[in-house]
Subunit: 240 residues, 2 copies
Amino acid sequence: MTEPGNPNPSKPAATCGCSPETRAIILDTAERLFGENGVEGTSVRDITRAAGVNLGAINYHFGTKDALVMAVFVRRLEPLSQERMRLLDGLEQKACGQPLALEDVLRAFFDPIIQSEENGELARTSLARLISRCFQEPNPELKALLKRHFEHVCTRFDNAILRTVPELTPAEVFWRINFLIGALNHALDMWARFEWIPIMGLDHKPERPSREALIDQLIAFTAGGIRARSLWNAKQEPTS
Amino acid sequence: MTEPGNPNPSKPAATCGCSPETRAIILDTAERLFGENGVEGTSVRDITRAAGVNLGAINYHFGTKDALVMAVFVRRLEPLSQERMRLLDGLEQKACGQPLALEDVLRAFFDPIIQSEENGELARTSLARLISRCFQEPNPELKALLKRHFEHVCTRFDNAILRTVPELTPAEVFWRINFLIGALNHALDMWARFEWIPIMGLDHKPERPSREALIDQLIAFTAGGIRARSLWNAKQEPTS
DNA sequence: GTCTATAACTAGATAGAC
DNA sequence: GTCTATCTAGTTATAGAC
């Protein structure tokens, strides 16, 4: 754990005036604890204690707990959304107007979540749990932030998927994307804390798959789900 | 301390002005608020204020907040699990050893969540949000309770689905059931608070479907997903 | 910049009047 | 059984010493 005492007084306090390390440590720790216990279930004392920094540090660096919460989410959602868009852009450029392959679109949506973060496995685990939680946070400011972030991305992917599965109605695609998001979030959350997973008394204890293998499974499942014939249409023709 | 829970099943409500009602009102209100703001984000003061009962009522009827939390979940999970098992029992009896139809198994899993509760629409909405939250609660006692409840049910459904889709490995079925659970929870949560849903800037504003229609969509999606060819196997034969 | 002390407030729980 | 007053402990946030 880093010692907070800074033996280097020659730091250009007047120009920079901040400690980049402490700030980052707080963000990392807060992200992990928010994922584990939720935002409401995590006090600033929990964070500063776990981070090994001073109690006042959060207020010094972020002002309020709410501002810290926003900073935690922004730090992750910003690059996540951008990477998703970037991958989709790449697919569309390569396709030159041709319809994309559904599996490729899904991979562009899933991959950025498991791609390498600067902090390795721990950060990716935190991210997974954080995102799976963020949809349920009651904080209205945070809700607005999330909506702002997902709006662009979801619209882009919604349109892309609509073109790959033209037989579905827009409303059907809308809900299936939500099914997909739920499957992704829950799977990553389960994956992140594998110890609680053995929910079943199973004879077969499943091994923990690699993240890549899990994503492959997710792509197979969600592609199959999105391509599935709607029961709504099936009901029109009672011949089955 | 002592168990302050009111164990007076034989006592009629009208005679003494005692509170079979208060207890139920507290449970209803707590369930709603837990769903909206999470367990940690809901204080006993929030509950008593919203329920219009006295601050001491929760401690009188349940002893502690934690005991109230458990009571809230037990009240819903018990009948939910039993109904799921009952429906699956019925399917298996009717099939007489023949493999079941995947869609029927899924419907037996989904339907009990939307089936009528005594309190109508509001209760069902609460239940949906409550269940979608319960997987993420950090409370260890609650986790144990949830595991106890889902263990039986998930094992039963796991085995049933394994028989309907014999080409999948047990590990694949295991994860696909988790995808399914995630899709269900997130969809119900989204459905319950439709106002936040318009996440997309869509040209097409989707109408809110009925619960039954949503479940039909879920069945189509998850059945398609479960039947999907695994990419793991597909990789073995690069002929496709 | 870091840390301590503490203010201002809210949490869950309880005791005792009615 | 209900309600009020109150206790203790924990919360965010701040002011000021080092």
